[in-house]
Amino acid sequence: MSLTDIMNITLMQGFAGLSLFSVLLLMGLGLAIIFGQMGVINMAHGEFMTIGAYTIYMFSSLTETFLPGFASMYFPFAIVAAFCIAFAFGWFIEWALIRHLYKRPLDTLLATWGLSLAMQQTFRSTFGAREVSPTLPDWLLGSWAPAEGLDIPINGLFVLALTALVTGGVLLALYRSRWGLRVRATVANRPMANATGINTSRTDRLTFAIGCGIAGIAGAAFTTIGSTGPTSGSLYIVDAFLVVTFGGAGSLLGTVASAFGIAQTQSIAEFFMTGSMAKVLTLMMIVTILMLRPQGLFASKIRR
């Protein structure tokens, strides 16, 4: 094995880590808004991701049956739809369930866990227990070979770009828009935000729905990497929570950094040992670090 081979393997392994990083980050971003900003423990977050994934699948099969000529174009629209459906459902759930429980965070955990069970069963009875994958458009398949022996899958690149776009959008929205201002004001001091005329309950609902919408996009990204089953979302929920806590709740940059760290640690470790041991090692490291430094990598300046 020559030196360039080793370089190429390192690069490709690193890129595999980047794909995991994208999904984790997209999951984590939605959760960072819901959990980090609002303090709601949404155990059904993974199922919102699954909603997004199934939306893509539905779009894919619908275009195949009714608009075969449209097959190469449907993907961007499907992503938008994934966001919208998850957003709408999140809006409804906040109204029906979450808003009654803001003062009891641990109870939200149980209620949303119940919600996730119901959603999983709904997926199972609607789409069947088998895992499904959408037909990806041609331009997402194949790989890009910038050098001899180096293959970068295009779907990975696409997901990475999508993640960068969403992350940038969220950062921009949170720090440069009126909505972001209202969210930050509500998080910092709810009564005071109310007093200045911010409709905090409306802000909460919008925030929760946007978090869920981003989970929907995460689901869309997920379909390009793996196949979707009723319980796909629950595989990522613990990781997503760890990403947010590890990065420091309330800090979006921390979420990005920790998603990167966790994904890279895991994919590099996977090169040396079995997948499950790599996972154990990664989780152990996170838990140990969190025990020593509970506020996470980037502590938020808000006292809670």
Binding site: G39, P105, L106, L109, L110, S276, V280, M284, L290
Partner: protein, 405 residues
Amino acid sequence: MDSIKSWLARSGMGSVLILALIIVVVFPLTMDLFRLNLVGKYLTYAFVAVGLVMLWGYGGVLSLGQGVFFGLGGYMMAMFMKLEASDPETTKIQSTPGIPDFMDWNQITELPLWWEPFRHLPLALLAVLLIPTLLAFIISFAMFRRRVGGVYFAIITQAVCLILTVLIVGQQGYTGGVNGITDLKTILGWDTRTDEAKYILYFLNAGLLIAAILLCRWIQLSKLGTLLLAMRDKEDRVRFSGYDVSMFKVFAFCLAAMLSAIGGAMFVLQVGFMSPSLVGIVPSIEMVIFAAVGGRMSLVGAVYGALLVNFGKTYFSESFPDLWLFLMAALFIGVVLAFPNGLAGLYESHVKPRLGKRKDKPAAGTDSTPSSDVPPATPLHSGAPHGGKPLARTALPDGVQGTSA
């Protein structure tokens, strides 16, 4: 008589007596061995639920990782029994006789060193009690010392749960993998699969559970219990009064862990296997719902909660597998939104006031129905947690009255 009555009322012993009566006398008399064994299995979950009442209801700390301790306790018991079941004589067809069969299948030729202590029953029993408690101590000491909030603690315990599950499944050669440890037969030559052994184990389990409830009740009535409650409600005030808040939380967590481990060990003795499906995140959260349904503040309620939910689960997942998850979801959401204090809360708010009124009338409360018949019948016939609730609700007070009068 009056002093006994007031003691019963003050200490809540009346309800414990009723429970003891139901699980020690009524269940064995009314059920066949198969059902009784099933109840015994559910009662091992009740250990976890009782621990959660102390930890969550009293301490205000929610752990989503009780499956870890249940699993550890169970696995260590199973390791002992597995070693006994795989003596060189019975395993002579293996390429390496004398080691558990799953090790042989995974090309392991020597018993790993950390399995060695489990050849001896006293060491194994000690490990069942101490190792989960020690792990709980390490986790909770590290976290509560740094004043980690409840939400973070819940997430970390969940991560620990995931770690243990992935580890067990991944290290098939050492742990039996997904299948777990199966084919457990004897303890020191005593066959646990005979009918007689099943009865003995059921009563042992019931006795231990009652003892655990009494221990927890004693803690609740002591100063420690008051401090736990105070800490749950106003942590800072307790801290400013000069108490070391974190150590009380650590204590509650260790207690809950030890109870769960005992439950796990009893599970293995009665059911005869242990697998990662009892360790993971899903069972751990289900164990929380047992405590929540029964009432997170009520030790006795936790046992009823565990029984009801599990009977419901068995009945519904057999008859309507598609509906079961929806029902479970409704249970989670309903308990949280509508009945945060569970069955015990319903009893306190709806039944007890009426009971008090009835007691004022001289003629009332004489011929209450034999209370004991109703609760076991409830889960069996109506099955549904929802259908079961009202019945159990009305059944409990009668029973309480019956003993106190």
